[in-house]
C-alpha cells in the first residue's frame, strides 16, 4: 500500500467533485449567464449581455408578492400549530409513548407531498368541509382555489418539519430551571415566558428557517390547491420554462428567487443572533 493519505482522499473525492461540478455548479452558472442574455426567436436563449430580463422582473410581481406573503404566513401558522404539539411531546408525554408519537409526526413528511396535497381537494372541495358548513347554515363557502386552501396545504405539508426542531430544543431544556422557578413562587405562565420560550428559540428559528426555505420554491401546493388563482414564483418558473420557453427571463426570475431567499434568510439569521442563538444551533440549518 504505497498510496499516500492525500492521494487516497483525492481519489475518494473525485466522483463527488465531478458530480457537483457537472450537476450543480455548471447548471447554476448557466442560469446566471442566461439571465443576462436575450430570448431567441424560437424561444430558448440567444447570447447577449443585457439587464433587460431583470428590468422585466416587475412583470412577475404578483408571483413574488404571493410567495412573500404566503410563505411567511404559512411559516407562522405552522409555528403556532407546531409549538404546542412539540411542547406536549417534549414535556408532557411519558417516555413510553414519546418515540412512537414523534415518529407519527415525521412519517407523513416522508410520503409524497403530491398525494398529501391532493387529499385536500376532497376535504376542501364542494363535498367536503363546505358541505359540512352548509349543514351548519353557512351556505356557499368556497375554500378550494383560495389563498386559505394554499395555506392549509402548506401547514399540512410542512408541520412535521416545524415540530421536530422545536421538540429537540424543548427536550434539551433543563427541567430543574422550571422547578427552581416554581420553588421561588413563579407562576407557571411566567416561567414559560421567561424560561421555556427563550430557551426553545433555537428550535423555533431552525424550524421556521427550514419551512420558509422550502416554501419559497413551492410549486405543487399552490398549483393543486390554488387552482391557478394563487400562484407562487414556482408556478411562474414552470410557466416560463415549460410553456413559454422564455429561458433568459425565467433565469432572471430564478436568480431573483434565490436572491430574495438569501436576503430573507440573512436578515433572519441576524435577528436570530440577537436572540442569542449560537453558531451550534445555526449549524442545524
Amino acid at each position: 500500500m504505497a498510496m499516500t493519505r492525500s492521494r487516497a482522499r483525492a481519489l475518494l473525492l473525485t466522483p463527488a467533485g465531478l458530480w457537483y461540478a457537472a450537476m450543480l455548479l455548471m447548471p447554476l452558472a448557466v442560469v446566471l449567464i442566461f439571465s443576462f442574455g436575450e430570448r431567441s426567436q424560437i424561444g430558448g436563449y440567444a447570447p447577449g449581455f443585457t439587464l433587460e430580463q431583470y428590468a422585466n422582473l416587475p412583470a412577475r410581481f404578483a408571483a413574488f408578492r404571493n410567495t412573500l406573503t404566503l410563505a411567511p404566513l404559512g411559516t407562522l401558522a405552522s409555528l403556532l400549530i407546531a409549538y404546542p404539539l412539540a411542547y406536549y411531546l417534549a414535556v408532557k408525554v411519558s417516555p413510553k409513548w414519546k418515540t412512537m408519537l414523534l415518529v407519527l409526526v415525521i412519517v407523513p413528511f416522508w410520503t409524497s407531498i403530491l398525494i398529501r396535497s391532493y387529499a385536500w381537494i376532497f376535504l376542501l372541495g364542494g363535498k367536503g368541509i363546505p358541505a359540512l358548513l352548509a349543514m351548519a347554515g353557512l351556505e356557499d363557502v368556497r375554500l378550494l382555489n383560495t389563498p386559505f386552501a394554499v395555506l392549509v396545504g402548506i401547514v399540512y405539508g410542512y408541520l412535521p418539519l416545524m415540530v421536530f426542531p422545536i421538540y429537540v430544543a424543548l427536550e434539551k431544556l433543563d427541567k430543574r430551571l422550571l422547578e427552581a422557578a416554581a420553588d421561588l413562587g413563579t407562576p407557571p405562565w411566567r416561567a414559560f415566558v421567561q424560561i421555556t420560550l427563550p430557551l426553545s428559540m433555537p428550535g423555533v428559528l431552525t424550524g421556521s428557517m427550514l419551512v420558509f426555505i422550502l416554501l419559497m420554491g413551492e410549486f405543487l401546493i399552490p398549483s393543486i390547491l390554488g387552482g391557478g388563482k394563487v400562484f407562487f414564483v414556482g408556478n411562474a418558473l414552470v410557466d416560463l420554462f415549460l410553456q413559454s420557453r422564455n429561458w433568459p427571463f425565467g433565469s432572471a426570475v430564478a436568480v431573483g428567487l434565490v436572491v430574495v431567499m438569501l436576503v430573507v434568510v440573512g436578515l433572519y439569521t441576524r435577528a436570530a443572533k440577537r436572540f442569542g442563538v449560537g453558531r451550534d444551533d445555526a449549524a442545524l440549518m
Binding site: A8, L13, G17, V30, T111, R116, L220, I224, S251
Partner: protein, 268 residues
C-alpha cells in the same frame, strides 16, 4: 393539551385516511364511498401507463440511490477530519445542494443539459449513432446530486462520533488501512449508509418538481399522478396514492430501524 395533540394528529392523518378509504370504493366517483372493492387497484395495476411510469420511477430511484450512496460515502470518508480549502469548497457545495430550492435545481439542470447536448450532439451522433437527450440519465444525475449530499451529511455525522482509539488499535495490531476500514470503520458506519440509501430512494421516488423539468420524454409516477390530477380526480389515483404511501411507509420503517441501530453503539 392532550386533546390538542389528538386534534393535530387527526389533522395529519385524516386526509391520508380519506384517500385510502376512497381507494376501496367500487363506484366511479373519486370523492365518495360506494361499496367496497379492489377494482381500482386492479385498474391501476393493469394500466400500462401507470406501470411504465412506476418502472421508470423505481429504476431512477434505485440507480440514483445506489450511486449517491457510494459516491456520498466515499466523499464523507475523505472529508472526515479533513481541513483546508478543499474541505471548505466541499462543505459549501453540500450546503448549496441542500439549500437551493428543488425547482431551481430543476430548471438549471434542464437548460444546462439541453444547451450542452445541443453543442455535443452534432459530432456525438455521427460517431456513436446515439443522440444525447434528457431522460433517465438526467433524472439520476439531478436526484443523486441532492441525495448524495444527504448521504455525505449522514455518514460524516456518524464518522465524527466514532472512537478513534479503535482505528488506532487496529493499526497498531498491524492491520492494513483497507483491513482496518473493512473490519472496524465500515461495520460501524453501515447503518448510516443504509439509512442514507433508503432516504435517497424515497426522495427520488417521491420527487415531482425536479423530475418535472429534467425527465424529458420519460414519465415518472409522480409526474403521471400530477397530470392525472390536472385532468380530474379519479378513484384510480386514490388507489395509486395509497399504494405509494404504503410503499414509502415500508421503506421509512426500514430507514428508521437502520438509524436506530446506527445511534445505538454496536458492541460486538
Amino acid at each position: 393539551m392532550r386533546l390538542y395533540a389528538m386534534a393535530v394528529y387527526a389533522f395529519l392523518y385524516l386526509p391520508i385516511a380519506i384517500i385510502a378509504l376512497f381507494s376501496f370504493s367500487a363506484g366511479r366517483s373519486a370523492s365518495s364511498m360506494q361499496g367496497f372493492s379492489l377494482t381500482w387497484y386492479g385498474r391501476a395495476l393493469n394500466n400500462p401507463f401507470v406501470m411504465e411510469a412506476l418502472w421508470t420511477s423505481v429504476k431512477v430511484a434505485f440507480l440514483s440511490a445506489c450511486l449517491a450512496t457510494v459516491v456520498g460515502t466515499m466523499a464523507a470518508l475523505a472529508l472526515t477530519g479533513m481541513k483546508g480549502r478543499v474541505r471548505r469548497v466541499f462543505d459549501l457545495a453540500v450546503q448549496i445542494a441542500v439549500m437551493i430550492p428543488g425547482i431551481v435545481i430543476g430548471i438549471a439542470t434542464l437548460i444546462a443539459l439541453v444547451t450542452v447536448f445541443d453543442l455535443v450532439n452534432p459530432w456525438f451522433e455521427p460517431l456513436t449513432g446515439m443522440k444525447l437527450s434528457l431522460g433517465t440519465g438526467s433524472l439520476i444525475g439531478a436526484h443523486g446530486l441532492f441525495t448524495m449530499s444527504l448521504v455525505v451529511l449522514l455518514v460524516r455525522g456518524r464518522m465524527e462520533t466514532l472512537d478513534p482509539a479503535l482505528v488506532e488499535a487496529s493499526n497498531d495490531l498491524g492491520a492494513t488501512p483497507f483491513g482496518t476500514f473493512r473490519q472496524v470503520t465500515f461495520p460501524q458506519i453501515l447503518p448510516a449508509i443504509m439509512a442514507g440509501f433508503l432516504l435517497a430512494f424515497t426522495f427520488s421516488f417521491d420527487d415531482f418538481i425536479i423530475a418535472f423539468f429534467v425527465a424529458g420524454a420519460e414519465t415518472t409516477l409522480p409526474i403521471y399522478v400530477f397530470s392525472s390530477i390536472r385532468r380530474g380526480v379519479t378513484p384510480e389515483i386514490n388507489a395509486i396514492g395509497t399504494m405509494v404511501m404504503a410503499a414509502s411507509l415500508l421503506v421509512l420503517i426500514g430507514a428508521q430501524l437502520m438509524l436506530r441501530r446506527s445511534q445505538a453503539q454496536p458492541r460486538r
